[in-house]
């Protein structure tokens, strides 16, 4: 029997708590009322991930710094030779704690910024965190840790992409991730307020292309295309259960961080191993490969490339997780996406900032 696909990346969502309340957050808008996974369980998850073949771990959340056992988790990752990335808002952090994380074996830091200036940053995050973030970036560089700056793009900051690039250069980032909003979680709730126009996107793309040439070898520039403005879906998570494992704060294993909305029973890692979850669970096998696809995907010449797009987005927009992702112009539901794009021409409604909300 084939051993099946091998995961390369573990996304460890250590907590959904966060000092920021970004309106585009991809976290669930409602979370199950279950206790957080204990340190010993997280250590076991790291061991199992390594056994499966994982080589990169992303400590993320919410805000991973809110867990006081981050250090032993980073230490275990280092023992397992996993390349560890801290994906953080930068709050709350001291230089001493960051130095301690580096000593524990932390490999790299990805720091979020919301905009190139304090005002618009506070508007979308609900908190004025711009200066503390600059301070964190300076510590990261002083400690000779690689710095990635991540900025989620939307209609409110796309026109400032040139200033965002200048900020990342000034901060000494080796990599700048300009990630257009994916409309899942809180971002879906705020879609009409966040939706950019095609003209904004085209202008930003041109700025990025020019900067990429100028910065070659110094700063890697990544521009994550917005799938709502494409004509074919993205290869979500490199395929369902193909490359990524997400573990939620309460210990559920999922193929994608947005998958909690699907009507699937995701394996509980308090009672089963990550190895079994990855290889044998119904949830991970459900949309692996292309056998589950229906038309128009089944006979599409791109089916092995995009697997019909994002299962979570298909479910969110159509109520059917096996439907073609509606961002595809061949989807019978593509009109939903075309209509959503039109919101860019309207005045933006008020943002709903994220908050922790328990499902009843």
């Amino acid at each position: 029997m084939s051993p099946g696909p091998r995961p390369y990346v573990l996304v460890a969502e250590l907590t959904y708590r966060c000092p920021l309340r970004c309106a585009y957050c991809s976290n669930p808008t409602q979370v199950e009322d279950r206790p957080a996974l204990a340190t010993a369980d997280w250590l076991r998850v790291l061991d199992d991930a390594s056994e499966l073949g994982v080589v990169q771990v992303h400590f993320t959340g919410g805000e991973p710094l809110l867990r006081d056992d981050l250090e032993p988790l980073v230490e275990r990752a280092a023992q397992l030779e996993l390349y560890s990335n801290l994906i953080t808002s930068g709050l709350p952090l001291t230089r001493e704690r960051l130095a301690g994380l580096k000593a524990a074996g932390l490999c790299a830091v990805q720091l979020s910024f919301q905009a190139a200036r304090p005002g618009p940053s506070a508007e979308i995050a609900g908190v004025d965190a711009f200066e503390p973030k600059r301070q964190v970036a300076a510590w990261v560089r002083e400690l000779d840790l690689p710095l990635t700056v991540n900025v989620v793009l939307h209609r409110g900051n796309l026109d400032e992409v040139d200033r965002i690039i200048a900020l990342a250069e000034e901060l000494g980032a080796g990599r700048l991730e300009l990630a257009n909003t994916q409309y899942l979680g809180w971002a879906y709730q705020n879609r009409a307020a966040l939706m950019p126009s095609l003209a904004q996107l085209d202008a930003a793309r041109a700025v990025v292309a020019a900067a990429r040439d100028r910065l070659r070898g110094r700063m890697e520039l990544l521009f994550v295309l917005p799938d709502y403005h494409g004509d074919r879906p993205r290869t979500c998570m490199n395929g369902w259960g193909e490359r990524y494992i997400v573990v939620t704060p309460d210990g559920r294993a999922m193929p994608c961080h947005a998958a909690h909305i699907l009507p699937l029973a995701f394996p509980d890692l308090r009672t089963q191993s990550l190895v079994a979850a990855w290889r044998d669970s119904e949830a991970f096998r459900k949309y692996r490969g292309t056998d589950h696809l229906r038309e128009p995907c089944r006979s599409c010449d791109r089916r092995e490339i995009d697997h019909g797009g994002c299962r979570c987005q298909a479910f969110l927009l159509t109520g059917d997780a096996t439907a073609a992702d509606p961002v595809c112009e061949l989807s019978p539901h593509h009109d939903l996406v075309v209509a959503a794009r039109a919101a860019a021409a309207e005045a933006a409604p008020p943002l709903t900032l994220r908050r922790l909300r328990l499902a009843r």
Partner: protein, 83 residues
Amino acid sequence: MAALSADSRPQLASKARLRTDKLTGETLLLYPEHGLVLNPSAAAILRLCDGRSAGDIAAELGAPLADVLEFLAALSDRGLVQT
């Protein structure tokens, strides 16, 4: 950035880590949120980026200097090798 030559002394960037893959025995080059599986000749070149010159690396491996320089330039463009 100065062009690579036989006298350049390439070093692996501090963000990059080399490791042996536990499942396949291949050499992996890991860096923030990414990784590359190296073929044996690429792995051999990077394992010799310890302060010696590109010319010495090519001589040590019995590899054409042009090939070594081309590979190092590609990694330098990605910020994975410093010269």
